[in-house]
Symmetry: C2
Subunit: 176 residues, 2 copies
């Protein structure tokens, strides 16, 4: 790492903070970076006994439209990523899964050019139906089941719009 | 979309801006979202005649370490994403490629829970060596060539730390 010379905190938000850091490189030159500091998130590729993938349709204000998503959410303080994945699956879809039926697939940085966000991806099998309990201000429209083979075709056709769901589905497919 | 009630602009940066929006949902309830507005980026999976993938090792201050990356960069104003991919490949690695040897693979949102960032992923073949010309404050340490089969093993073993490079490599592998 280059030497940190100074840092400012120009934005403190509910979802993320912005920090502006000035570094000195090995030539003595100063340069700055604006960084979004955000909690980690967990996402879960949940597959039912008929090989359907469980998606949620959710309004994403940042891109001003509804998107098809794998169940996901922020890892809370003092929570481990796996527990967060299991909790988000239950809250967003009503599906319940035992800890022993959830396996770690991978973890990735989403966009380390400007943010420290890291996501943990899990695969859940042997899921059973329970009750949903959405976060108060979450805009989940509906739950959608799609056969895994069709999901893979969607990935091929660029119909899965988010990096994280592509990583989950493509890596699971490669490793299974 | 829910009705936009108001918006504030708490941070205006060089790399991104933050907008805070308040919406009213269909029940009349108000809620807010903090959103990072950022330009799109292009990344390029460049493969040489010996089936090596071209990586750069780059210091990423946001995660406080060097990472292995596919050549990538922001799409400039009045630039199309494909031209940006070709330009970034040349600037960061010195490899030159003809427009007709670059094909679109997919585009994805990196993390639409808090940012509108969209990345465009291209595949470049028939690349030839030229000169590098790094951005002034870019911290690219070195260029690394890795056989595609090894890269795929690295993806399987969670050794590729970024979502975008996983999408590029796994989707290219599925479609080829």
């Amino acid at each position: 790492m280059n030497k940190l010379v100074s840092e400012e905190f120009p934005f403190h938000g509910r979802r993320f903070d912005v920090v502006k850091r000035t570094y000195e490189n090995s030539d003595g030159k100063l340069y700055s970076r604006e960084i979004v500091k955000t909690p980690s998130a967990s996402i879960v590729l949940a597959i039912d006994e008929e090989d359907n993938v469980i998606f949620v349709e959710q309004l994403r204000e940042a891109i001003e439209k509804n998107t098809l998503e794998l169940p996901a959410g922020l890892v809370e303080e003092n929570e481990d990523p796996k527990s967060a994945a299991i909790r988000e699956l239950r809250e967003e879809t009503g599906y319940v899964v035992k800890d022993s039926d959830v396996t770690f697939l991978t973890s990735v940085y989403t966009s380390c050019g400007f943010t420290d966000e890291k996501i943990y991806i899990y695969v859940a099998k042997n899921i059973t139906r329970g009750e949903t309990s959405f976060d108060e201000d979450e805009n989940i429209e509906k739950i959608i089941k799609i056969p895994f083979s069709k999901v893979l075709e969607m990935a091929k056709n660029s119909e899965l719009e988010q990096a994280n769901q592509n990583v989950a589905i493509l890596l699971y497919n490669l490793k299974k």
